[in-house]
């Protein structure tokens, strides 16, 4: 087996990509979290550029809402306003620490997994993962670790004289602190898991560190913003390209540039030669 074949046959670590915002463009997430430069002061005779951020990337705080949801956007805008107000008033502004998120290779919790809560009044209870915020190492378990809360809308209703009802909401559990653990399918005890190659070295699987038993991936783990299940995904008419057409190979290597190819196709016959120029 040649080296190239080995490289091509190597299993890809696609498990690192699993998540709700898998296909969300990075630039869009940066835009809604305001982690974009407000102005870059450059062209300073070789001195490094100074960037004034709308919100420094380390200050971006992910919460229980997706960054593009209205409540998250409102929180971000408040943060940005405060930051620039402090700047103008020359007040001390404590910048956030860089996020200490678990690397994708070590992250094993997926949506729909059976987990055990290790702290709080629901200690020892088992439930399914309902929501994950990877940026904060957070996991929300369905119906467990709940707190009585009054939402903002209800507060507004109270002002208008409408009776308010407290509701129960799941609270985040930190994976890095071991507040929640996966359940071993063999003995149904809490366990740690890792990604290892399967027998024929073709794909990564998740196994329990204690018993070595495989923990199957639930189908809901593949859900993203665009679809609930990739198997049942249907291409959007006039927008998506089909699988066959996308993977069809039409490129044939030749000794002509892109511009030459297009000129030839369009029947443009350019015979003039360029004069020599100097680059400095």
């Amino acid at each position: 087996m040649t080296t190239l074949t080995k490289v091509l046959l190597r299993a890809s670590n696609k498990y690192t990509e699993l998540g709700y915002n898998r296909h969300m463009p990075k630039s869009y997430v940066e835009r809604v979290t305001q982690a974009v430069p407000r102005r870059v002061y450059d062209n300073r005779f070789g001195a490094p550029a100074i960037t004034r951020w709308r919100l420094h990337p380390d200050d971006v705080e992910h919460g229980e809402f997706r960054p593009w949801e209205q409540k998250a956007v409102n929180n971000t805008l408040t943060k940005v306003r405060d930051y620039h107000k402090h700047k103008l008033m020359q007040k001390y502004h404590q910048r956030g620490l860089p996020q200490q998120r678990i690397p994708d290779e070590l992250w094993t919790m997926l949506k729909g997994d059976l987990v055990q809560v290790m702290i709080g009044k629901d200690k020892g209870k088992k439930g399914k993962i309902a929501y994950i915020v990877k940026e904060r190492n957070w996991v929300f378990v369905e119906g467990l670790h709940m707190k009585r809360t009054i939402s903002d809308d209800l507060e507004r209703m109270k002002k208008m004289g409408v009776q308010q009802f407290p509701s129960l909401r799941e609270q985040p559990l930190d994976v890095a602190k071991g507040e929640v653990m996966l359940v071993d399918p063999k003995d149904e005890q809490p366990c740690e898991a890792e990604w290892v190659l399967n027998e024929d070295q073709s794909d990564y699987i998740r196994v329990s560190k204690e018993s070595g038993v495989e923990i199957p991936i639930p189908s809901i783990a593949f859900q993203t913003y665009e679809y609930n299940d990739p198997k049942t995904y249907r291409e959007v008419e006039l927008k998506d390209t089909s699988v066959e057409l996308t993977l069809e190979r039409t490129y044939k290597p030749s000794l002509s540039t892109f511009e030459e190819d297009i000129s030839k196709e369009q029947g443009i016959d350019e015979r003039r030669t360029l004069k020599p120029t100097y680059w400095y």
Binding site: M24, F45, L97, P98, Q100, I102, V236, I262, Y278, Y280
Partner: protein, 233 residues
């Protein structure tokens, strides 16, 4: 083929496009005569989003278009296909920008603005693939890539940096810009500037390290997975 593979967005089917011939003079004339008919057939609709999405804050899951074209997928396509795809993407971007402005004028929420980023990603990837192919050919035939050349120069403040070169008709000795170059030794002013600059940067780094140390000591529960990035600004 991987089952989970999802397919790139915002493209009319390439096969359908291949069937559209280039307009000859006669056809172009007939277009004028049947302009109204063309409009009624729905050609003007291509400048706008589908009417079902009007006034919605977010597209329903079944109408959300897929991800952008990746570099790996675009490498499979011929120059001709890439050329067509570029205009498909350009049309889509034009449509999205039109819709964005319309929603802005009506003071409404533009549904799924990430579509614009998806188109931009695709266009960037497409350009990267074209550049990659052209550069490979240039390296093969001329021994240098077609990228803009750069050179290292020293500024009057003593900074050494890479500068992008510009194309000129006259030879370099006729221009002041042509005489910029990298100097091995700095003059007194530039030397002092560099010394003071280094000192300032050192203090910034040290203060930031102290600050980070103080704050991590405060919160011992934080687990460090990688080396902290020190920020200078």
């Amino acid at each position: 083929m991987h089952k989970l593979h999802r397919f790139a967005r915002c493209c009319r089917q390439l096969s359908a496009m291949r069937r559209v011939p280039l307009l000859s003079t006669n056809e172009a004339c007939s277009l004028h005569t049947s302009a109204v008919m063309q409009v009624s057939k729905g050609r003007i609709d291509e400048f706008f989003d589908s009417a079902d999405s009007f006034g919605k804050n977010e597209l329903p899951v079944k109408d959300r278009p897929g991800r952008s074209w990746s570099v790996a997928e675009l490498r499979l396509k011929s120059s001709s296909d890439l050329h067509k795809l570029w205009y498909v993407l350009l049309k889509e971007r034009n449509m999205l920008l039109t819709m964005e402005q319309a929603y802005k004028d009506a003071i409404r929420v533009f549904p799924n603005p990430e579509r614009l980023d998806r188109v931009k990603d695709s266009m960037d990837n497409l350009e990267a693939v074209v550049r990659e192919r052209n550069n490979a050919l240039m390296e093969l035939e001329y021994g240098e890539s077609g990228a803009t050349p750069t050179k290292t120069v020293t500024s009057f403040m003593g900074f050494k940096y890479e500068k992008e070169l510009q194309e000129h008709i006259e030879p370099p000795h006729m221009h002041a810009v042509g005489k910029e170059y990298e100097t091995p030794y700095l003059d007194d002013d530039a030397h002092m500037m560099q010394k003071l600059w280094e000192e300032k940067e050192w203090w910034k780094r040290r203060n930031m390290a102290e600050e980070l140390g103080r704050r991590t000591r405060k919160d011992r529960s934080k687990i460090v997975y990688s080396e902290r990035q020190l920020r200078s600004d």
